[in-house]
């Protein structure tokens, strides 16, 4: 704004001032972003609801309106069983993840277990890796036919037959539970660390013993965190596609997500039935997330005062070594063994559940990494390039959106901001595969279908709330007066955003960007619905290799993805610190 403009505007007639006062930068930006967010979130879900009531006729061309899709959910030969399997897997994974998450959080936050300061980054690594890749690794570690652990058991312990078999529903529960343990851990460790020690001390002074204090004070205070984490794990497991696809679907256990997938792209594709199944899954998850957000999450804030406390540390005596061993085994199962297995398998031309040193070769990496080689596998090399494009563009666009949305939620008041706040919670409640079905049925007849753009759109819709929460948490900590004083200094809304708000939010914006970059690099359940030949992503490449090639090539690409993700995690920890994750 120049001085000339200031004085010129002041002198304008009331008529043009009236016009100018309505069309401000702020109002225009608010309108545009509201429309984009509303369209991106509401449109796919609306279309999903509508198409679930469209019934495909026997010829497979025309549709009529009706409830037949929903009837099929009950009468179909496979779907009811898939439903039960999904519930079993979710419940089982929740138990496993809660067991590991809570005990590890307690060990790290409140006991004198050795090395507890060094463990946390490793405990969180599975959070950033792809559970699908975890399933591939565990398949090669303890599969029914090809397990490395099984052959070691045979060689060193003399066990006959297969000691372990993860190629079933229990394997899915084990791998999913392991990989989602950090979710529970993150929800619990914060409240354990920041709990005012005087709460426990005052219980002790009334004569309550250690155990009684833990049961009557500590546990109830942490319970909302545990419950929040458990619900998130339940919902995430129910919506997970990769693990059941790898470990149980090939052996006769279908889940809702594997069924939705086959209805979306399989030979007997029927998007309308897929939409109805997505609705069934979505309704359950949204209901659970709604309970978590509106009843449980608000309570967990009452346990922490926000001040930095040095929490009471419990002396475990000799048991501390057991706690240490427990923590190490978790890292072994969730991080070390899987990555070691991927590496070993990827270096063999053929995997026979044995390490054969003379066979080791980098040939698999050449075929999956180097697209200029004549014998490269296109789905794999496409996947690498596309994923980086999607992750970079997606994270950037989503953070711009997050910034404006956070600004409107926290800096403007009224109906619009509350609506936006709500719209930002909605996508979190839907599993990726459900939202992807919505995006697919919405845009299937538009030019963006079968392009990278439809995947980009899906990613941003589903995941921008994660970035938005990163920005919001920083924005809440910054006084609104910092913005206002810039306006008073004569800067326009946009100049204020550019020179004051964004520089102050930089840490939150960058942390959110890296987090989204990581999420997009490993995303599977949306990409698998929305990709076509040529728009494969990294995870779709892994899917392609595991489906049409062999385990060694699959492991090579999985290893590439894992290394890239680990590098990103390292960067993320450097810029964001541990607190950013819990936002």
């Amino acid at each position: 704004m120049t001085v000339q403009t200031i004085s010129a505007d002041v002198g304008q007639s009331p008529i043009s001032s009236r016009w100018r006062s309505l069309v401000t930068q702020e109002a225009v930006a608010t309108l545009i972003v509201s429309v984009i967010v509303a369209a991106a979130v509401i449109l796919p879900l609306f279309t999903l609801v509508v198409s679930s009531f469209q019934v495909l006729d026997s010829g497979g061309f025309d549709t009529t309106w009706g409830l037949d899709n929903y009837k099929t959910l009950f009468t179909d030969r496979i779907i009811p069983k898939a439903f039960v399997n999904t519930l079993l897997i979710s419940a089982g994974s929740t138990v496993v993840a809660t067991f590991f998450g809570v005990s590890l959080a307690w060990i790290n936050a409140r006991t004198n277990s050795p090395g507890r300061d060094r463990m946390e980054p490793f405990n969180l690594i599975p959070f950033f890796l792809s559970p699908f890749v975890g399933a591939i690794a565990w398949h090669n570690l303890a599969g029914g036919k090809t397990g490395l652990l099984n052959s070691w058991a045979h060689d060193f312990l003399g066990v006959h037959g297969n000691l372990l078999n993860v190629d079933n529903i229990y394997g899915v529960i084990w791998v999913t539970g392991l990989f989602f343990s950090p979710l529970v851990y993150l929800f619990v460790v914060g409240s354990l660390r920041r709990m005012d020690p005087s709460l426990e001390d005052s219980a002790r002074t009334t004569g309550a013993g250690l155990l009684r204090t833990a049961m009557t004070v500590t546990l109830p205070l942490v319970a909302p965190g545990i419950l929040s984490g458990a619900i998130i794990v339940f919902v995430t497991s129910a919506g997970d596609f990769g693990v059941p696809f790898k470990l149980c679907a090939p052996y006769g256990w279908q889940t809702l997500t594997t069924q939705i997938f086959s209805k979306a792209v399989g030979d007997d594709a029927n998007q309308y039935l897929g939409a109805a199944m997505s609705m069934a899954l979505g309704v359950i998850t949204v209901f659970l997330i709604w309970i978590q957000q509106s009843y449980i999450a608000p309570r967990s804030f009452t346990t922490v005062t926000g001040k930095g406390f040095r929490p009471n540390v419990i002396d475990l005596g000799g048991w501390k070594w057991l706690a240490f061993a427990f923590n190490l085994s978790f890292i072994l199962f969730a991080v070390v063994l899987p990555i070691f297995c991927l590496l070993v398998v990827s270096l063999h031309p053929v995997w026979q559940a044995e390490i054969i040193p003379s066979d080791l070769t980098l040939h698999n990496y050449e075929k999956t990494l180097f697209w200029w080689r004549p014998d490269h596998i296109q789905a794999a090399t496409n996947g690498i390039v596309n994923s980086f494009i999607l992750a970079f563009l997606g994270a950037t666009i989503a953070m711009i959106l997050s910034l404006v949305v956070s600004y409107m939620i926290h800096r403007t008041r009224g109906f619009g901001s509350r609506l936006l706040d709500f719209l930002c919670v909605v996508p979190v409640g839907f599993p990726g595969i459900v939202l992807a079905m919505g995006v697919l049925v919405t845009y299937i007849k538009t030019p963006i279908y079968a392009t990278l753009w439809i995947i980009l759109l899906g990613y941003i819709t589903r995941f921008f709330p994660y970035g938005q929460r990163n920005v919001s948490s920083v924005m809440l900590a910054i006084s609104e007066e910092l913005d206002q004083s810039s306006r008073m200094a004569g800067a326009s809304w946009f100049t204020t955003l550019r020179r004051i708000t964004i520089p102050l939010l930089k840490p939150g914006i960058f942390a959110g960007w890296v987090l989204l970059f990581i999420i997009f690099l490993r995303e599977l359940s949306m990409s698998i619905i929305l990709y076509t030949s040529g728009t494969e992503t990294l995870s779709v490449g892994v899917y392609y290799l595991t489906n049409y090639e062999n385990e060694t090539l699959t492991s090579a690409l999985s290893m590439v993805q894992t290394v890239v993700l680990l590098v990103c995690v390292f960067v993320f920890r450097r810029v964001a610190g541990r607190e950013a994750l819990t936002a």
Binding site: M1, V3, S7, E481, S485, S486, R487, M488, A489, L504
Partner: protein, 378 residues
């Protein structure tokens, strides 16, 4: 064309001679009228304080002038320029109002140095770099931060941030300065020092100022004029002496300083503005000669207001009308004795002369000066 010449040409005061003119301001928050028909004016170069407890509408009024809130009705005009008039659909964006503002939290941007903070309003106005540097140096010297220019805002103490915020507000020589409780985050000693400092600087730069505070001492020290607000309405407007000596109602009397407030009824008007008021307190009745406030006719319900320093207490009955009471507390403060005197059910607060030598349990005679005994609106 420079800002100075074009703005100067329009810098008219309104018919009433006011540089800042607020008329019929109304602001709703949900179902609450946060500001309820507030009108006032500020002459050019003067320092006006909006004084009241939290929730009285003073900050909302200030935010409305700044343009950080839209108002629901009324008109705000500064230097002849209409800032906002919802009836005509006029709302000038905050950045176009040419106002300097000092916030409660100082709002010094932590990612910039002190000099960058202060230079910001000038950069926004596209002023040449050499002039910016000169003016920033000048204004930093004026507020006593000459040595601090290159420090980051986060390295400053509270008082220094305060000075930096003031420098940033005045550097562009705005039409109007707004202060939103700027001293409330400082400790007592620093606050007392900054009051005088702020007043000195405002006087030196001569910019018309509106100051919001809940601290009556601050208002008395700094202001040319004070507006006492309560529940979104103006209770009284006047100079510090006038507000203190001639409060129009019990609320103002109680809010500014300490006062003995006793319910009563006007029984006779003896001369213009003079009369007798009958007060009762638990069986004790007295008729006190008073100055009558506006609208106090014979028979009117009233409250009499007497400052503790205007009550004379002695152990001897010197004759003439006086109230006989009992000292229930006497605290020796050096320059006076802070007493509580029971008279019926009422406890008089009395600031007695140290030589009066009053002690708890003694009988005492209170004499009220009719010139300083006010009958005000209840």
């Amino acid at each position: 064309m420079t800002a100075g010449s074009s703005v100067g040409a329009m810098e008219n005061t309104t018919a009433a001679g006011h540089y800042v003119d607020v008329k019929g301001l109304v602001k709703w928050f949900g179902a609450d009228r946060a500001v309820d028909d507030v009108s006032f004016g500020v002459p050019k170069g003067k320092f006006l304080t909006l004084l009241g407890p939290s929730g009285c509408g003073k900050t909302t009024t200030l935010m409305s002038i700044a343009g950080l809130h839209a108002i629901d009705a009324g008109e705000i005009r500064v230097g002849g320029v209409l800032y906002t008039a919802p009836a005509e659909g006029i709302f000038l964006a905050p950045e176009k109002r040419d106002i300097g503002m000092v916030f409660q939290s100082y709002a010094i941007w932590p990612h910039m140095t002190v000099a960058e903070n202060v230079a910001y309003p000038l950069e926004i106005r596209k002023i040449e770099r050499s002039e910016i540097d000169a003016r920033v140096a000048d204004v930093l010297r004026l507020v006593g931060l000459g040595q601090m220019a290159d420090k980051l805002a986060t390295q400053l103490s509270g008082g220094q941030q305060q000075r930096a915020a003031l420098a940033r507000a005045i550097v562009s020589r705005p039409r109007l300065l707004l202060f939103d409780e700027p001293l409330s985050n400082l400790d007592l000693k620093l606050r007392e020092q900054m009051r005088l400092e702020l007043k000195r600087i405002q006087h030196e730069v001569g910019i018309t100022s509106i100051y919001v505070t809940h601290d009556q001492a601050e208002a008395l020290v700094m202001s040319d004029e004070i507006i006492v607000m309560s529940k979104g309405r103006i209770q009284q407007k006047g100079g510090p002496r006038e507000i203190y000596a001639r409060p129009v109602n019990a609320y103002v009397s109680n809010f500014i300083g300490v006062a003995n407030l006793l319910k009563g009824r006007v029984i006779a008007v003896t001369a213009p503005g003079r009369g007798n008021v009958e007060v009762t307190a638990g069986g004790r009745i007295a008729q006190l000669p008073c100055r009558l406030g506006v609208g106090m006719a014979a028979g009117a319900e009233t409250v009499i207001s007497v400052r503790p320093e205007n009550v004379e207490a002695s152990r001897q009955n010197g004759g003439g009308p006086c109230l006989e009471g009992e000292v229930i507390q006497a605290i020796f403060l050096g320059n006076c004795i802070d007493c509580r005197v029971r008279w019926g059910e009422f406890e008089w607060k009395v600031m007695a002369h140290p030589r009066a030598g009053l002690k708890a349990g003694e009988k005492v005679y209170l004499r009220l000066d009719p010139e300083h005994t006010l009958a005000v609106q209840p």
